[in-house]
């Protein structure tokens, strides 16, 4: 017979399964796998990223 602690653990585990973060582990197609690595290994930064970083990362206090 389960004790009270086990019941609490079961309850928390069920909740954790239910509300868990979605899309944490994803599988991608072979060509997307290559695409991700090609972009990540490139030294060419997306100009949109550079512009946005200047726009948003700067005004802090």
């Amino acid at each position: 017979m389960k004790n009270k602690n086990h019941n609490n653990l079961d309850s928390r585990t069920e909740q954790a399964t239910f509300i868990g973060e979605e899309h944490c582990h994803v599988e991608v197609s072979a060509r997307d796998w290559q695409h991700i690595i090609q972009v990540a290994e490139s030294n060419e930064i997306n100009p949109a990223l550079a512009r946005a970083a200047m726009r948003y990362a700067t005004p802090s206090k």
């Binding site: 928390r12 909740q15 954790a16 509300i19 868990g20 973060e21 979605e22 899309h23 944490c24 582990h25 994803v26 599988e27 991608v28 197609s29 072979a30 060509r31 997307d32 796998w33 290559q34 695409h35 991700i36 690595i37 972009v39 990540a40 930064i45 997306n46 949109a48 990223l49 550079a50 512009r51 946005a52 970083a53 200047m54 726009r55 948003y56 990362a57 700067t58 005004p59 802090s60 206090k61």
Partner: protein, 185 residues
Amino acid sequence: MLLRASEKILKDGTKILIQRLEETHHRGAFTCSRHPVLADFLNKHALQNANLGLSRTYVVTLPESNDVIGFCSLSNGSISPKVLPNEGKGLPRYDLPTAHIGRFAIDDKWQCKGLGGTLLFFALEVIVDASERLAAYVIDVFAKDQVAADFYMHNGFSPLRDDALHLFLPMKHAKIALAAAKSVE
């Protein structure tokens, strides 16, 4: 020290505070009419997920208020290929670690004020900071719709070719861009 809170100034001069979600934050008035499920997550699950170690949620408030006007949740993740490509010698054969932006939303009343971009770049600062201690190869996010995907692309994310709503940003690039922006502060 890990980045936990930051005060920012929007383009119209409004000061905002971004910090970890706490019980004292008012979440009930947050509305996201395009995707009510996001407000539901904030109200019902964000704190619980943080307590369980499933994600960390950061919220935006005005400095003098506890009302949440925007939030994002972050966690770790991984990406793997369904099938390893035939060509591409030298490609990794194992999962790639990711920093995952799980949920991201701005209150209906605060749309189009630059709040989304400001929150996104705060999230990138948190992620880049954390990646010095816990490696992640890319930052990834699933956009709820094409409008959201366009927002991420406008801010430097790239969509996958076979899933336009799954977008990524290499950690290396995020570090370089943030360092460049900091150097002109």
